[in-house]
């Protein structure tokens, strides 16, 4: 769309420009980076010298701006680039940042921010207090709408193949909302307790805290939430995540009851499907029950998780082996999900593999899980392989009484596919490792295993997996005597179920579209290891979620798209970005789970202890809130207008505009650049803007209190010219407003705190302006003290009081020390250099102080060096509010003249 004018920034200068231009009949596009118009003025207490309420003056202008028929306001938006075209007009790119809230529905009720579990510094209160990640900018915001502060996907969430909102449940446990944390995981999968124990926690590997002293114990926090829930509710689940849609009359069969099948069934059932799981074994759970040993994942935890499914009506038929998928479909199902995993153990293909005492790891672990464990008392066991199944087989063998367990692997430890924790724990429990050997033969006597003959290997060139390939060392063999050989060299799907129905891929996997998980037979979907080969629980859960989504889309005749849980996450925020938000990080001792690792363990008790409540809170408290919003969903549940839209995304548009008004305001001097004054080191040294917030009606504290301890200050000092008229900090300019806003605050303090003594240490008092000097005299009459002389240093006493050291230039000339409760630094104004990024082709000229240059400032105020670009307010130099409004008026006149001239030129060209 075309506009006559683009106004950038909605402070008082921007609003004034937009309103005046709109009143003249020009179509104005106003772009403001914050969620409300108003700029800084709306945040002030009062204005000098009238002491009118800043909100009372700004409020009507803000309302006029938003409601003006000729002004289109885009808040929470940024101009990302402006190009001047040959015809003299401009193309402006504007990014409307996602608020993640439907503003048409939002009523500004604040329920989202009250429910939010993430606290961050409130920039609208000069960082004196906290706001929430879900927030309304300030009470008088126009429009008064909520925003979710989402800088990206937190790395923990981004790393989870299951799409589980780890940051969310961590922030919930941090807030004491353990049941809500459980429900948040339950929303993704019924396997909350399982994941709390058996997940390899890719979230922790990506945790930004790892860059400091160690990761947040994310998995154990999830286990804590699950344990709390099951302890309180038993196996009778309740809560928002177990709400089930009304039956839709559709039926889905799921073949296999591992993590993929259980999760697919859970999600489909919640959407109103009648779901039946068919499991060939006598108990459900797949590898969760039949492969993962109970010392890592107790069966009662699996049972509790599975009860989540059955409680909402999912039927599980055990001892129900499916042989004919087409017949299953025809028996009354609208779709079928195959989730049979990788149940087929890869044989070693060596002599005597079928001897008594030679087993594969999957059968071995399943027998143990089903109370059919062999007695290995005093036996010697060799485990062939280096994966997690090998580690489980070794550790289970020890628990069954084996005297010696040796894991033989054809590469080195560095190449072992087992999770390093599993390998370390196996070794700690007494398993021995022999690397660079591969079996040549199972040695047997009378059909019974007596040992394994091994070929010694060495590492050659890397193979397709990137790992170096093992190569035999010719003539180099060895043997190990043993009573039991457990082969764990690989596993693959059993393709007999589907090989006559669909294409079988590499490794006997069922072939699916990786995005939709649909096979070439439309009703047939597949999820988990059966389609991908052996992976892990989280990937299987992610696939189960995806399959359920796609089945629902297919059954209801919709395109197989829209799986936002994994396919439409915001970009993951980088660790460096997160760490750059703070100047320093306090050390926290990492919370780690206690694992009971005994040499030669002989029972199957759960070896990892749960976190105590204190540990869970502390561990969760170490979260750095990387993405800011944790995606805990509390705002979603709290919003009475159903206005939260986590799937909203930024929108970028281009606009054709005839002129541009730059009204981007100023930056405040960063007070920590004057280290001798101690801001940032002494809690009771604050800036003038912070004091203005303390004095404002919407103040962050209940009254003017010193931040160090909440005391009502009785002795307050001001130091003028902090960061202005100071070549040492690179700003020789006078900021023009500091003297006057200090005097204003002096008067307001004496009104608010009648017992307070206010003293201002100044270099020169600059009160030039109508009624300004009178205002200064009035402050003196009220009792404010004004001492000429620059303060050289501030020190802090144990009680937080502050000692100022200065030269008494109007008295004895001696160095004097004075003690105060609170010190206010009258910080100066500096140019907002963000303006340098606005123009992509033709740079906007700046003056030697980096303010927007006005080449003919005296005769043509508001005119920049780019034809058609104008500047209003403090973007071109320090001004008070009155001067800003006057300057905006000048800029408006220049814009109007420019537009008129352009119009006349166009008419002349048309007539010619």
């Amino acid at each position: 769309m075309d506009y006559d004018v683009l106004v950038i920034g909605s402070g008082i200068g921007g609003m004034e420009s937009a309103i005046k231009l709109g009143d003249m009949g020009h179509k104005v596009l106003l772009v403001e980076k914050e969620a409300s118009v108003g700029g800084r003025m709306i945040l002030l207490s009062k204005v000098f010298p009238t002491l009118d309420c800043a909100s009372c003056i700004s409020g009507p202008k803000m309302s006029s701006t938003i409601n003006h028929p000729n002004i289109t306001t885009k808040t929470y938006s940024e101009v990302t680039g402006i190009k001047r075209r040959p015809d003299g007009r401009f193309t402006a790119s504007v990014k409307e940042k996602s608020t993640f809230v439907d503003w048409a529905a939002c009523t500004g009720c604040s329920d989202c921010q009250t429910a939010c579990t993430v606290a961050v510094p409130d920039e609208f209160n000069a960082d004196l207090a906290a706001r929430r990640a879900a927030y309304i900018a300030f009470p008088q915001a126009v429009p008064k709408k909520a925003v979710l502060d989402r800088e990206g996907t937190s790395p923990c969430i981004g790393a989870c193949p299951a799409g589980i909102k780890a940051h969310g449940y961590v922030s919930l446990v941090r807030s004491g909302k353990d049941e809500e944390a459980f429900q948040l995981v339950l929303d993704a999968t019924p396997l909350v307790g399982t994941l709390g124990r058996a997940c390899y926690a890719p979230c922790e590997s990506e945790c930004t805290r790892t860059k400091l002293e160690g990761p947040v114990p994310i998995r154990l926090i999830k286990r804590f939430a699950a344990d709390q829930h099951y302890a309180a509710h038993g196996e009778t689940p309740s809560g928002p995540a177990v709400e089930v849609a009304a039956p839709n009359g559709k039926r889905v069969a799921v073949v296999g009851s591992g993590p993929a099948g259980l999760t697919a069934a859970w999600q489909l059932a919640r959407q109103g499907y009648q779901v039946t799981i068919f499991e060939k074994r006598s108990q459900p759970g797949g590898f969760l029950r039949h492969a993962i040993p109970s010392y890592r994942l107790p069966h009662e935890v699996v049972d509790a998780d599975i009860a989540n499914l059955t409680s909402i009506g999912v039927e599980i038929e055990c001892d129900a082996k499916i042989d004919d998928l087409a017949a299953l479909k025809d028996s009354g199902y609208d779709a079928v999900v195959v989730a049979t995993g990788t149940q087929h153990a890869t044989p070693m293909n060596v002599p005597n593999e079928d001897a008594a005492g030679s087993v594969n790891g999957l059968d071995f672990l399943a027998d143990v899980a089903n109370d059919n464990a062999p007695d290995l008392t005093g036996k010697r066991v060799v485990v062939v392989g280096g994966g997690n199944v090998a580690m489980d087989a070794a550790r289970v063998s020890l628990r069954l009484g084996a005297a010696d367990v040796k894991v033989v692997y054809r590469r080195t430890r560095a190449e072992m596919p087992a999770h390093h924790v599993e390998a370390d724990d196996a070794e700690a429990e007494g398993a021995r490792f022999e690397f660079l050997v591969t079996p040549l033969e199972v040695l047997a006597t009378d059909g019974h295993v007596t040992g394994v003959r091994l070929q010694k290997m060495r590492l050659g060139e890397p193979d397709a997996s990137g790992r170096r390939s093992p190569e035999p060392i010719q003539g180099s063999e060895t043997s190990v005597a043993c009573d039991l050989v457990i082969s764990t060299i690989g596993m693959s799907p059993d393709a007999t179920l589907y090989e006559n129905v669909v294409t079988v891929g590499r490794g006997k996997r069922i072939t699916v579209d990786p995005h939709t998980l649909q096979t070439e037979v439309p009703y047939l979907f597949a999820a988990g290891d059966v389609a991908t080969g052996a992976t892990d629980i989280t990937r299987a859960i992610g696939a189960g979620r995806r399959a359920a989504h796609m089945v629902d889309r297919w059954v209801t005749g919709r395109p197989l798209t829209g799986f936002t849980a994994l396919d439409d996450r915001l970009d993951t925020i980088g660790h460096d970005t997160v760490l750059s938000r703070q100047t320093a990080f306090g050390h926290r001792n990492p919370i780690k789970g206690a694992v009971d690792l005994q040499k030669l363990p002989r029972d199957f008790h759960e070896i990892e202890s749960p976190l105590t409540e204190t540990e869970a809170r502390s561990g969760a408290g170490s979260c750095l809130d990387c993405g800011v919003c944790s995606e805990c969903q509390e705002c979603v549940h709290a919003c009475p207008a159903d206005a939260i839209r986590m799937d909203k995304r930024d929108v970028e548009n281009e606009f054709d505009v005839g002129a541009v008004v730059v009204s981007t305001g100023y930056k405040l001097f960063a007070a920590d650049n004057k280290p001798e004054y101690g801001w940032g080191r002494y809690a009771n040294v604050i800036t003038g803007m912070q004091m203005d917030r303390l004095l404002a009606p919407t103040r962050p504290f209940n009254t003017v209190l010193r931040p160090g301890d909440g005391k009502v200050p009785e002795r307050i000092a001001y130091i003028s010219c902090t960061g202005s008229r100071d070549a040492q900090v690179g700003n020789p300019l006078c900021s023009k407003v500091c003297c006057m806003y200090s005097i204003k605050q002096n008067q307001l303090i004496m009104g608010a705190l009648p017992l307070a003594d206010v003293t201002m240490h100044y270099m020169d008092m600059r009160a030039a302006g109508k009624r300004y000097d009178e205002f200064y005299e009035q402050a003196k009459d009220m009792g404010a003290q004004y001492i000429r002389g620059r303060v050289s240093r501030i020190t802090e006493k144990e009680n937080g009081d502050l000692v100022l050291r200065y030269e008494d230039t109007e008295g004895t000339g001696e160095i004097v020390e004075a003690e105060y409760d609170l010190v206010v630094l009258a910080v100066g104004i500096q140019p907002n250099r963000d303006v340098e990024r606005l123009f992509t082709d033709e740079p906007l000229g700046l003056d030697e102080y980096f303010y927007v240059a006005e080449p003919s400032e005296d005769l043509d105020p508001g005119v920049t060096d780019v034809p058609g670009v104008f500047v209003a307010g403090t973007a071109s130099g320090a001004k008070d509010i009155v001067d800003t409004i006057v300057h905006a008026g000048a800029a408006v006149a220049q814009v109007a003249a420019h537009l008129e001239k352009a119009q006349q030129t166009t008419k002349a060209e048309v007539l010619a």
Binding site: A129, G621, N702, D709
Partner: protein, 84 residues
């Protein structure tokens, strides 16, 4: 000056981030009655300037309220809201 100190303040973002963890701790400390910020700081063993961040965050969102009058030393006591 012998009574000056150079202890360092933690980054405000870090302190503020801990507010959620501190809710239960502060509420427990206030269970027996109102306390000022220094009293709370002493009760929970944390620096007063950090406690102020947490108390003001809690106050903003209705978890604590201030008493009408400051004490003789100029400190307002804070309490749990009625019914909490």
């Amino acid at each position: 000056m012998t009574d000056t100190t150079e202890r360092s303040l933690r980054d405000p973002r870090e302190v503020i981030r801990e507010e959620m963890t501190m809710h239960a701790v502060i509420k427990a400390a206030l269970a027996d009655g109102p306390l000022t910020v220094p009293e709370l700081a002493s009760a929970i063993g944390r620096p007063a300037e950090e406690v102020l961040y947490w108390v003001m965050g809690m106050r903003r969102y209705g978890h604590v309220v201030e008493m009408p009058e400051a004490d003789d030393e100029g400190y307002f006591p804070y309490a749990l809201p009625k019914g909490a």
